[in-house]
């Protein structure tokens, strides 16, 4: 079970493959559910060329671990990986990923779904977007629709 907060660009699919190999889960897991969030070049009808993700380092690390612990209590998970960027992010870069491994499909799917919503609502990250008319803090998360 790993939560990472990183400042550099990363490839989510390589990160998942690498973690899975290192975790030595082979022959035990039958299901992997993942979610990857990527920076789009528009939001709320405005062009967004880049953004800065601020966080509260100690609390953010604590909350990501806490969410993983809560998910482990709720579902029989073999492993969980969360990676979240902070700092400067430009269009089409990966912002974050969640990956859940379990023996059977429902645990990984339900945990992945739960983790993304909980992370959005509880983990202390804040986005500031760079728009044509300047920088602007995102005031609140969307409902994902």
């Amino acid at each position: 079970m790993t939560a990472q907060i990183i400042k550099h660009i990363f490839d989510p699919w390589q990160a998942i493959a690498k973690h899975q190999e290192a975790a030595n889960l082979s022959q035990k897991f039958g299901a992997t559910a993942t979610f990857v969030g990527t920076m789009r070049d528009f939001n709320d009808n405005a062009d967004v060329s880049a953004m800065t993700l601020e966080h509260y380092p100690a609390m953010t690390a604590h909350y990501l671990e806490k969410l993983i612990e809560e998910a482990k209590i709720k579902w029989p998970l073999l492993d969980v990986l969360i990676i979240h960027r902070v700092g400067e992010i430009t269009s089409s870069e990966t912002i974050m990923l969640i990956a859940c491994w379990s023996a059977h499909r429902r645990a990984s799917l339900d945990a992945c779904n739960w983790l993304i919503e909980e992370l959005k609502h509880r983990a202390p990250f804040w986005k500031k977007e760079t728009r044509p008319d300047g920088e602007r803090w995102v005031e609140k998360n969307t409902d994902g629709l």
Binding site: E54, H84, R122, P124, F125, W126
Partner: protein
């Protein structure tokens, strides 16, 4: 007593405050009032005491870290 107070994101910019300390605050709300010189508290401000979400009238003690921030927008 010393309470560590932190502000994040739009709140940090608006108040022009990031890390500070206050003395003699019994609740998170008092820490806000002292640290911000009684600035208005936007209705959506969140508070954390020692890295856990808390309420403004929760009590604080020497050495605590109190943080104020707007709704989170990660993910």
């Amino acid at each position: 007593m010393t309470i560590h107070v932190k502000f994040f994101a739009s709140l940090k910019d608006k108040l022009n405050l990031e890390d500070t300390t206050v003395e003699q605050a019994n609740t998170a709300g008092q820490a806000w009032d002292i640290a911000t010189d009684n600035a208005d508290r936007p209705s959506n401000v969140l508070v954390a005491i020692n890295l856990e979400y808390a309420q403004f009238d929760d009590t604080i003690k020497a050495g605590d870290e109190v943080a104020f921030f707007p709704p989170v927008t990660g993910g």
